[in-house]
């Protein structure tokens, strides 16, 4: 545990910074009081601006055990501190190609080297690049606290713009995806007003699994930056189930499949445009998956 005792000074602010190197220490401290959790720093520091640091900070970057990708019989596990660069360089199966493509679009190389999966999810931006590709593999998040572990579907974890179901005593230690949902091919498309370093106007992640008869066995399709929380498109997934996996597939997509989205008008694009664009992005991403299958 680095720097923790050294900060034990008199006054009402007993510890304003801790960098535990053991999980148990971290969770005990979290149980104790409210902390702002710092990992890669890529959301923490921009949000801080020039204001002084006053809240207690728990720096979890020394919890090396939370970094890395592994598999067991049932799941792929991505540790919470896995960086976007780690993901881009990983040997995850093609169902994660969407995630790997998204990893290369998160901010800049510098941000991909520092920013973590857990940070992207806990920051809960409607335009978080990591969310749609994880939704399409039915990802779940593992939340750990001194009192135990619980697992939530990602779709239930992020509850709103900058809102999550994480309790203040919990850490998002890992993201896991059931292997049954990690079959097939995937693709991710992000639309922005410039080539690099851009916040999405809209994005789409698609995973398609084929039957032997070249029809859609199962799919995961998600839209990002078009609602408060990125979301799957179940009506579309249902409509293409069993459809022929050929060039006609993208043609089955229509505005009706996007009617539950609620994009906003802002500086990056109008709501109407976002709806139109995300439909096109989904169509193209499906086309790319069909080509790969």
């Amino acid at each position: 545990m680095l720097a923790y005792e050294q900060l034990d000074f008199a006054g009402d602010c007993v510890m304003n910074y801790a960098r535990p190197d053991g999980m148990e220490d971290a969770l005990n401290l979290l149980a104790d009081r409210s902390w702002v959790v710092l990992a890669g720093g890529t959301d923490f520091y921009p949000a801080q601006g020039d204001r002084p640091l006053t809240q207690p900070i728990m720096d979890i970057s020394a919890l090396e055990q939370l970094r890395g990708i592994r598999e067991d019989d049932e799941y792929w596990h991505i540790g919470g501190l896995t960086t976007w660069a780690d993901i881009a360089a990983s040997a995850l199966p093609p169902a994660f190609d969407a995630l790997k493509l998204a990893a290369r679009e998160v901010g800049s190389v510098q941000i991909q080297n520092a920013g973590t999966v857990a940070g992207n999810l806990c920051n809960a931006s409607p335009a978080a690049d990591g969310v749609p590709p994880l939704l399409v593999v039915d990802a779940e998040v593992e939340l750990r606290s001194a009192s135990g572990v619980r697992t939530l579907p990602l779709s239930e974890f992020i509850t709103g713009n900058r809102k999550t179901a994480r309790r203040r005593d919990e850490l998002l230690v890992s993201v896991r995806a059931p292997k049954a949902s990690c079959a097939g091919q995937s693709h991710f498309l992000k639309l922005g007003s410039r080539r690099y370093l851009v916040i999405s106007i809209a994005m789409a992640a698609v995973r398609l699994q084929a039957t032997d008869a070249a029809t859609v066995a199962s799919s995961g399709i998600a839209a990002g930056a078009c609602s408060e929380v990125a979301t799957r498109l179940p009506a579309l997934e249902a409509d293409i189930a069993g459809a022929a996996l050929d060039a006609s597939l993208p043609g089955r997509i229509g505005p009706v499949h996007f009617k539950d989205l609620s994009p906003i008008n802002d500086i990056r694009g109008t709501a109407d445009y976002r709806l139109e664009a995300v439909e096109e992005l989904v169509r193209r991403a499906i086309g790319c998956c069909v080509e790969k299958l």
Binding site: Q6, R19, P46, D50, R194, L197, R274, E276, E280
Partner: protein
């Protein structure tokens, strides 16, 4: 303050360091402030600009987002590690060779990113370089030369060109001030302050318009340890008023009872550095009373609108007008007419260096060290605010990390100067990125209506342009914009019947000021669009239409000025002709081969731009002298903001004087040392200061030859303290140590002033506004993703008449950088006060947004310019946006009328053009 410090041990550039720091302090602050490694720059503190890129255990990261404690035990590498034993790495050398560093503020981040890439991939492709460096923003270069430098960094070192006496002009020599820019040693505004300097921070209005009342300021100072004092309008010894055009000066250093725009200063707090860094500004005792705000010229001109300034009725700051011929008759004679309404937003300069600097009191004088484009104007303005005589103020410009017009105006200077004056200690400030964006000037938003009529043979019979410009809360350069727009509104064309009017209207927005082109780019967007439309109606090719109307020698401009030589627009358009037909053919082939999903298009637009002040005196003075030990010293007072004045002015002076350019020692701008070279704006430094440098060089040579009593055709050379003169029949030597020395230490010295000949404009705008215009035209090739409205640029071909290219590499650098800013203006940049005050909501082009740029340097010699040279800096931005918009129309049929052409707007315009809008 030891509260909450930790012991930190890590390695920096191979050396172990131990220090104490707050655990969550940004690594960038640790490196800069605790270790003195100022090569790591801070541009945004938010990971948006990459200027602070360093490596930690070899991994590239932004130091502004790393907690100090996270570096414990690790290896940090910064730009300072690149050179070994004083020898530049080949990568650094390549940056100089290819002209990859202009202002230099992004250069450390670029170099560290590039070094990381080169370790893995020694001979990278263009795409690999763009991917690897894409996290760093550059506002000067347009990125192309940076990519070139990195791609060639594996090749053997080339020898830098060192032209001999008389051969400097036209030589693509490396920047003379380049080396510190690639080693991280250049001293930018935030990089230097005396030890123990106090820090000042400014309290700014959070509202577009608000009154305010202070609480108990004395109690605040007394109760906050480490605070030295507070400054408000009451502390100003002189006049609480500044402005770049003295008759219009209207901006207070501190608002007196109400702030007229969001970000305007109401007070400032001065204190010890550590306390100020940790100070929560929201604890300052001030109460804001928000008032209704006028945010558009439309709202501000309503009859019942409140007035921002006494005496400026309807909130109109000024109107400019140029009229010639009879437009009613001209339109009656037209066979085809095209018209349109166009709208452009605020555009932010977005230099990567936020404003910064320090001031110190030296006896009864004040010294201000800050980034600036206009040292002598700063001196005059600060003398007024401080109530001092001009010679009591010394302005020492630091290296300037980009300006583009905004650093012509006063920003931080009053705060550091007032604090240093009042408290008698050095005081420094560094603006935060949001502070820089909300409080400094912007490009004027415009609403322009224009109409053009042409006869069936393609000749323009009449043109009319009316523009309203949102000039913000204070005058700044609003009058210049209002004057320049009507003078330039025609573009470089012969138009017999012309009327143009520009109105600058105050609003409760940040002041609009100077930004590369002073309103001319906004006008060109409208003018070049309707030209294309009328050509289309007449069935004439856009290039052909422009050539039929191009201004030629001997024809009057819209202000009635006639140039007998030097009009270069025809030559620029002719230079583009083969490129235009090639591009047209390729677009046609692309469209034939591809379906309707992607469409290719090409567009063209021209520019002209008058160099220097409009019909106002505009002198520059250059001093050059020779020391007894044979040194040649050039007092070069033109602020080099990255464009290359230090190099170009020296090249000119070297050839006039007849010495090798690398033998000249440059004394850069400092109001105590260099005579007034005016401001770095209006594309005037190469022309005006360059001319003064040429005259000074000639005069110094004349003095030397006269002293030697030889003819004016003789030449001389200097070897140490021996000056040798070669005339037709004899060689003489002069021992410089034997000559009398003047108070500046010179044995020979020349001082020359040049002021371009202009004449005032009458009530119809007729007269001689500028002695010199520069000209240019650009072709844009692009493709549009029809379903998404995304524009993909393929190539820009830019022909620019510079009269004489003093340094071709620097000319290309200006062209590429100007194109990049034009791309931003066309496709992505929109500043919204209160909404886009950072570099992730305000987008500027990245590595992937600037296509191949082919520069065609055209040299139509000017009669006034030094060795025929014309200005270039602003011209280069003007044609890009209109050429892009014309190319979008060519590709899609959609005419974009509101900038920027973001995907949603392009898509909407395509729907309208296709008649599918419901």
């Amino acid at each position: 303050m030891s509260r909450g410090l930790i012991d930190l041990d890590f390695t920096v550039n191979g050396k172990a360091v131990s220090l104490k720091a707050p655990p969550a302090e940004r690594l960038s602050e640790v490196l800069r402030n605790r270790l003195g490694l100022k090569g790591t720059k801070v541009g945004c503190d938010a990971g948006d600009c990459g200027a602070c890129s360093v490596r930690i255990d070899g991994i590239l990261t932004c130091a502004c987002m790393v907690a100090a404690a996270q570096t414990g035990g690790r290896n940090v590498t910064t730009v300072e590690a690149l050179a070994e034993n004083g020898q530049l790495s080949r990568l650094q050398d390549a940056f100089l060779e290819f002209g990859a560093a202009q202002c230099g503020i992004c250069t450390p981040g670029m170099l560290v990113s590039a070094a990381t890439l080169l370790e893995q991939s020694p001979a990278p492709s263009r795409e690999e370089v763009e991917d690897a460096l894409s996290g760093v923003l550059c506002r000067c270069t347009g990125y192309r030369k940076i990519v070139d430098a990195v791609m060639h960094a594996a090749e053997p070192r080339s020898t830098a060109e060192t032209p001999s006496a008389g051969d400097a002009i036209g030589a693509p020599i490396r920047r003379l001030d380049g080396e510190p820019k690639v080693t991280g040693r250049d001293v930018f505004a935030a990089d230097d302050a005396p030890d123990g300097a106090l820090v000042v921070r400014v309290i700014r209005s959070p509202h577009h318009h608000a009154g305010f009342t202070f609480g108990d300021l004395e109690a605040f100072v007394a109760e906050t340890p480490g605070i030295v004092g507070v400054l408000t309008a009451k502390d100003i010894p002189g006049e609480n008023r500044f402005g770049v055009i003295p008759p219009f000066a209207d901006q207070p250093a501190f608002a007196e009872d109400a702030c007229r725009f969001r970000g305007e200063a109401a007070a400032a707090i001065v204190g010890d550095a550590e306390v100020m860094t940790g100070l929560d500004l929201s604890t300052f005792p001030i109460e804001w009373h928000e008032r209704p705000a006028l945010l558009t010229p439309n709202a501000a001109q309503k009859e019942d609108a409140a007035r921002l300034h006494e005496g400026r009725d309807n909130n109109i700051l000024i109107k400019g007008r140029v009229a010639r011929g009879d437009i009613a008759q001209g339109f009656a004679d037209a066979d085809a007419v095209a018209e349109g309404q166009f709208e452009t937003p605020f555009v932010e300069h977005a230099y990567i260096e936020p404003e910064a600097g320090f001031a110190r009191r030296v006896g009864d004088r004040i010294e201000i060290h800050a980034c600036t484009q206009a040292p002598h104007m700063d001196r005059e303005a600060m003398a007024v605010v401080l109530g001092l005589a001009g010679d009591q103020v010394r302005i020492v410009p630091t290296a300037c990390g980009g300006g583009f017009g905004s650093k012509l105006d006063i920003s931080l200077q009053p705060y550091v100067a007032l604090a240093a004056w009042k408290f008698g200690r050095p005081v420094r400030i560094t603006y935060t990125r949001p502070e820089s964006m909300m409080s400094t000037t912007k490009r004027h938003p415009s609403e322009i209506t224009c109409r053009v009529g042409a006869a069936s043979d393609g000749r323009i019979t009449a043109f009319e342009l009316r523009g309203t410009f949102n000039t913000g809360a204070y005058a700044s350069w609003g009058p210049t914009v209002a004057n320049r727009v009507p003078v330039h509104g025609s573009g470089p064309y012969f138009i017999p019947n012309y009327e143009a009017e520009a109105t600058a209207v105050h609003t409760n927005c940040a002041p609009s000021g100077a930004f590369r082109g002073f309103g001319v780019p906004q006008g060109a967007i409208a003018q070049e669009a309707v030209f294309d439309d009328v050509a289309d109606r007449l069935g004439i090719d856009p290039l052909e239409f422009r050539l039929r109307n191009v201004l030629t020698n001997g024809q009057p401009t819209v202000t009635g000025q006639v140039f007998e030589k030097s009009v270069g627009i025809g030559a620029c358009l002719e230079a583009l002709r083969p490129h235009w037909s090639r591009a047209g053919k390729e677009a046609e082939e692309y469209n034939a081969a591809n379906g309707s999903g992607w469409r290719a298009g090409i567009g063209i637009a021209s520019c002209w731009y008058g160099c220097g002040n409009t019909s106002l005196p505009n002198p520059s003075t250059i001093k050059v002298g020779i020391t007894p030990d044979g040194g040649v010293r050039l007092h070069q007072g033109a602020a080099d903001i990255g464009q290359g004045a230090n190099t170009v002015i020296t090249q000119i002076c070297a050839d006039a004087l007849g010495v090798p350019v690398h033998d000249i020692e440059i004394l850069s701008a400092d109001t105590d040392i260099t005579p007034d070279c005016g401001k770095t704006s209006a594309s005037r430094q190469t022309f005006v200061t360059g001319k003064a440098a040429m005259l000074a060089g000639y005069d110094l040579k004349r003095r030397i030859l006269r002293h030697a009593n030889v003819s004016e055709h003789a030449s001389f050379s200097i070897g140490g303290s021996t000056l040798s003169v070669d005339d037709a029949d004899a060689t003489r030597t002069i021992d410089l140590r034997q000559l009398p020395v003047d108070p500046d230490g010179y044995v020979f010295v020349a001082l020359e002033t040049y002021d371009p000949p202009t004449r005032p404009l009458d009530e119809n705008g007729q007269g001689i506004p500028y002695a010199v215009f520069g000209y240019g035209a650009q072709i844009v090739e692009l493709r549009v993703d029809m379903a998404l409205g995304k524009v993909h640029l393929v190539k820009i071909t830019a022909a620019h008449d510079v009269g004489r290219a003093i340094n071709p590499v620097l000319v290309e650098g200006q062209i590429e950088g100007g194109c990049a800013q034009g791309i931003g203006m066309a496709l992505m940049e929109e500043y919204v006060p209160g909404r886009t005050e950072n570099l992730h909501d305000y987008l500027i082009p990245t590595f992937g947004d600037v296509p191949e740029i082919q520069s065609l340097i055209v040299e139509v010699e000017d009669e006034h310019g030094p060795f025929g040279a014309k200005g270039l800096g602003e011209h280069v931005l003007i044609p890009t946006a209109p050429a892009i918009l014309n190319a979008i129309r060519h590709a899609t049929g959609a005419r974009i009328r509101r900038l920027p052409a973001t995907p949603d707007r392009v898509r909407q315009a395509i729907r309208e053009a296709q008649g599918t809008n419901v």
